[in-house]
């Protein structure tokens, strides 16, 4: 079983996130991490491969990212967690990609790896926590023409089919699809493992393959800013919020104070 996991390098939620003067998401090495839900995707991949047989050889987890130099951090994290190898789509031509450019490049990365041996599954997180699009998994399924199982909170592999359960928009659904398939997971699906010292050491000797648009057979004009169908016109930080009005409920009057605030501001 060979699984590709898409991992994105995003600004840490705790960091001071923002945009560059070119109106692109500011990505710095210090403040970046692997998109947290993608750790769940890596964990799911490792568990599926472990269930299929001994890792290595025919059973492989391969991490895939599209992003600038710093994005290699996300790959390194995946390797430390236990991925066998990693593929970095790295090219100035990719800069400024929109959802479609991203999905087209990632799909080309999948095809590149599949040319070396069958890929059974592409795993992703449910959302990149910088843009919160939740659309790349669907677009990957369109690009690859594979069925999609997205927002999966529970996964099971049986008889060459994956069964996924999802709970969203007031509906619980169970979907089943034959491999190969694109799967997007939520953060509730598992608890990602924390790499130990020896895993971190072992990851150092693992290979990161770098591929350009040309390596993938992609026309540079079709990806990145030149291929994008949207353009960010404006990105401005908002003024800080004013200090909140705080009351302390030491005499049982807090509830009434809350009600009074709503009434006073005509909110009910």
């Amino acid at each position: 079983m060979r699984i590709l996991v898409c991992v994105k390098h995003v600004p840490d939620l705790q960091s001071n996130r923002g945009f560059t003067p070119e109106r692109r998401v500011r990505r710095t090495a210090e403040d970046g991490t692997m998109n947290e839900v993608d750790e769940n995707a890596v964990e799911a991949a490792l568990q599926l491969v472990a269930g299929a047989g001994a890792p290595g050889g025919a059973h492989q987890v391969i991490a895939l990212t599209l992003g600038p130099d710093e994005a290699a951090d996300a790959l390194r994290r995946a390797l430390q967690m236990g991925a066998d190898r990693a593929v970095h789509l790295l090219d100035d031509a990719f800069a400024g990609s929109d959802y479609f450019g991203t999905a087209a490049a990632l799909a080309a990365g999948v095809r590149h790896v599949a040319a070396q041996g069958e890929v059974d599954l592409v795993l992703t997180g449910m959302a990149a926590l910088d843009g919160l699009g939740s659309v790349v998994p669907a677009l990957l399924s369109a690009e690859l023409d594979w069925p999609q199982l997205t927002v999966a909170a529970h996964l099971e592999l049986a008889d060459g089919h994956l069964v996924a359960r999802r709970e969203l928009d007031g509906v619980t659904e169970t979907l089943r699809a034959p491999l190969p398939v694109v799967v997007g997971v939520t953060d509730l699906i598992n608890t990602p493992r924390f790499p130990k010292f020896k895993d971190i050491m072992a990851a150092r000797s693992k290979e990161i393959e770098t591929l350009t648009a040309a390596d993938l057979g992609l026309d540079p004009a079709s990806v990145g800013a030149s291929g994008a169908r949207t353009r960010v016109l404006r990105a401005e930080p908002r003024p800080p919020r004013p200090e909140p009005e705080l009351v302390t409920d030491d005499d049982g009057s807090g509830g009434r104070a809350l009600a009074d605030y709503l009434i006073r501001h005509d909110l009910i």
């Binding site: 659309v135 401005e236 409920d249 104070a257």
Partner: protein, 332 residues
């Protein structure tokens, strides 16, 4: 002058249109001529709402046996409707399912895609969507450079307004022979029963409610005080991931980066610390109120008003005071 056509996906037209769809229609009218798209036969109620909201043309896509619950299938109906009515923009409400339908539809039609727009306008002939990102700390505007724009619109971004002139909606059928992804099977699909308040009335849905009362780990699993205040306010109930993890609430009640993004008029968070994952999903709310025993809880930092106190005391007292106020107000 030929007017722009704006296609609006009508989520629940077989019953009645819900407020996020009416909000999308209101935005559509500000951009051009709204045309509705439904995958199921619209009810009389929905047709009446469409008339009120100025929609003269409704496309009823017939997918035959193909399962409309599969986003890649529903998207083919959207693409067929785009070919039929040539819109400049397609608007959908911002549910998880709709984001996926929007993605597939944009992929099929070559459209540009904006997710979770709070406002939409036409500028220099292009559709521009605005949204607040990074947990509400930045405002952005994004222009669609492709011929067609597909946008999901977040709920409560505008107030739904009826049109100045009542329309006379005509339903036009459109047969769509959709391709179903190979081997994909919907094993089962259970629609959650809408949660009911103490009087048995249906609570509003979290994603579209004007007021949301959310409870976190500080409830210790007892949501009675949260429900009490929600019922007094006619509010929806939300929660944090920790409470979902504990099995206290279902995942679709989770507010945040890996849950539902909400922007109600009023958000009240009780027993919620205000982790960035959580506030990324609610910081666009109009008024934010926090109730927490810990005066240092980060949710206070983004709140307009806060009570430092135990939610088990504060929420029921607030509910009682609101009921009292309502009773006094409604008295002749």
């Amino acid at each position: 002058m030929s007017e722009n056509t704006i296609l609006v996906v009508l989520d629940t037209a077989e019953e009645a249109l819900r407020s996020p769809v009416l909000e999308a229609l209101t935005i559509a009218r500000s951009l051009g001529e709204p045309v509705g798209l439904t995958l199921r036969c619209p009810s009389e109620t929905a047709l009446d709402q469409l008339a009120e909201h100025g929609v003269n043309r409704v496309v009823l896509a017939d997918l035959g046996d193909a399962p409309a619950a599969v986003s890649a299938v529903a998207a083919q109906a959207v693409a067929a409707a785009v070919a039929l009515v040539s819109p400049t923009a397609v608007l959908l409400t911002s549910s998880f399912a709709n984001k996926e339908i929007a993605a597939h539809a944009a992929w099929l039609t070559g459209a540009g895609l904006v997710i979770d727009a709070a406002s939409i306008e036409t500028r220099d002939g292009r559709i521009v969507g605005a949204k607040r990102v990074f947990a509400g700390t930045w405002d952005t505007e994004c222009a669609v450079t492709a011929d067609v724009a597909v946008l999901t619109v977040r709920a409560n971004a505008v107030t739904a307004e009826p049109a100045a002139l009542r329309a006379d909606p005509q339903v036009q059928k459109l047969a769509v022979s959709a391709r179903v992804p190979a081997g994909l099977e919907l094993v089962d699909r259970v629609v959650h029963e809408a949660s009911a308040d103490a009087s048995g009335a249906q609570r509003p849905a979290l994603a579209e409610a004007a007021i949301v009362v959310a409870g976190g780990r500080g409830t210790a699993g007892d949501f009675a005080p949260v429900e009490d205040l929600a019922d007094a306010l006619g509010a929806a109930i939300g929660t944090t991931r920790d409470a979902v993890d504990e099995g206290w609430m279902a995942h679709d009640a989770q507010i945040g980066q890996t849950g539902v993004t909400i922007a109600p008029r009023v958000y009240i968070g009780a027993g919620i610390s205000g982790a960035p994952h959580h506030h990324g999903g609610m910081q666009a709310s109009g008024t934010i109120i926090a109730v927490n025993v810990d005066a240092e809880a980060p949710l206070f930092e983004i709140a307009d008003f806060g009570v430092v106190g135990d939610l088990h005391d504060v929420l029921p007292a607030a509910a009682a005071a609101i009921r009292e106020h309502r009773a006094a107000r409604d008295e002749p």
